[in-house]
Symmetry: C2
Subunit: 230 residues, 2 copies
DNA sequence: GTTGACGCCTTACAGCGTACACCTATACTG
DNA sequence: CAGTATAGGTGTACGCTGTAAGGCGTCAAC
């Protein structure tokens, strides 16, 4: 824990020039890893490969990163930090939709971040994530919910968005007909699954953008219904 | 594709005894891998380790499994197949909740399955997944939705459930105060994030079971509101 | 009895994360 | 300015990974 302190955010404080000799920094290592991950996938992100990309030997990275897990944490954080807080909108529903869309866009821009998140088993206390959280809470609070309900709604929306992108990336939707190879004969299977058979037509294809919006509106409608109740 | 045909589901068809000599089968390999994964995590699932568990050498596995990816596909499928279709309920809302709970329970019973799913980039045409899908569709259809709306609702609910468990397993919720080490000083950060600061109390802890139900009810409410509209 | 296939094993290779030792140019100290 | 500490680079090595290639014994069928 005490080793390999991360360099604080804003460039070296005061004591001297920012290291004339040191060529690479944690920041640089992490960004290289992120770029590599986006371009060539998770498997491409090896210590040796990242190092080569920087014109350096693998072991050099360990002066800037505790181990590979720490590097990947940095990658998650770096991706999160890209979140572009969208412009506000007077209607809280539309403002919320914009945040949701931005979040989905971010997760799709760095598809493997979701894999990394799924892999984690400990909380990630990243300051970079907190800003989007704050924006989302602010918008939901404007919907006239109690603080407790606001947090609940935040979690529900967050779950939906992440789950949607997960399904989207893993192609969990649209798995019915369009499998071109038709590896398995669906006939006998469908005979036992009448509901599935009845909806196959609509399961077969999926306009993700449209579907995402519909789900979002569904939750918004639920929120308003609940608010009207109390 | 043509190599290593998976043994069809129902025991060897007719041509002779089921292999007197062959000691291990794809089924056995996959189940061993799943057990290992649940007990010791994803990293423990290596070809050598699974083989050792079966008292066999690593390369022997390749007679029953195309490669490691194929093995892990089998693991996903095996876990999915465990889905315990819950008893029906006259009220479609309660019936839906039961399916949702069962799905969440399954994903939590085999936490790494979600990681594997997140890792996938191609559709998984697993017959084992179709049965739960069928049940869910049947229940949602009873809510009085059009087929198209039924599929939409199915996707929305599925996204929510998977996203919730993802967040739950990665500890994405409950990240505010209770970090015991208090690695970072939240003070200065919170100054810029008023909404987050205001809700910190409720963000800090999370009763997952309760929260899950609330989100579920939120979506059900949305569904009913939309149904009332049209 | 011979043949052929199947199931398992051995060997080997390239790549992985990283512990450890070493070297060197820089930056601070006296 | 000389001396020294140290941060940041390198090289080597170990045990692990997935899997390609080939060998070998046992079984079923002709």
């Amino acid at each position: 824990m005490s080793r390999t302190e991360r360099p604080r955010g804003g460039a070296e404080p005061g004591h001297g020039a920012p290291g004339r000799r040191g060529r690479i920094t944690r920041e640089l290592v992490v960004r290289t890893a992120l770029r590599l991950m986006d371009a060539e996938g998770l498997e491409a992100v090896s210590m040796r490969r990242v190092a080569r990309e920087l014109g350096v030997e693998a072991m050099s990275l360990y002066h800037h990163v505790r181990d590979k897990e720490d590097l990947l944490d940095g990658v998650i954080e770096a991706a999160m930090a890209e979140f572009p807080v969208p412009e506000d909108h007077p209607d809280w529903r539309e403002a919320g939709r914009r945040i949701a869309r931005a979040w989905r866009a971010l997760l799709k821009a760095h598809p493997h971040v979701l894999t990394l998140l799924a892999h984690r088993r400990e909380p990630l206390a990243a300051a970079a994530v907190l800003r989007p959280v704050d924006r989302a809470l602010a918008v939901l609070a404007r919907a006239g919910l109690s603080p407790e309900e606001t947090v609940r709604a935040f979690r529900a929306f967050g779950s939906y968005i992440q789950g949607f992108v997960l399904a989207e990336l893993a192609h969990l939707f649209g798995e019915g007909e369009p499998t071109p190879s038709a590896e398995v004969d669906l006939g006998p299977i469908l005979a036992e699954l009448p509901a599935l058979a009845a909806h196959l037509r609509y399961l077969a294809h999926c306009d993700f953008d449209e579907e995402f919006e519909h789900g979002l509106d569904l939750m918004i409608a639920g929120l308003e219904a609940r608010r009207a109740e109390t």
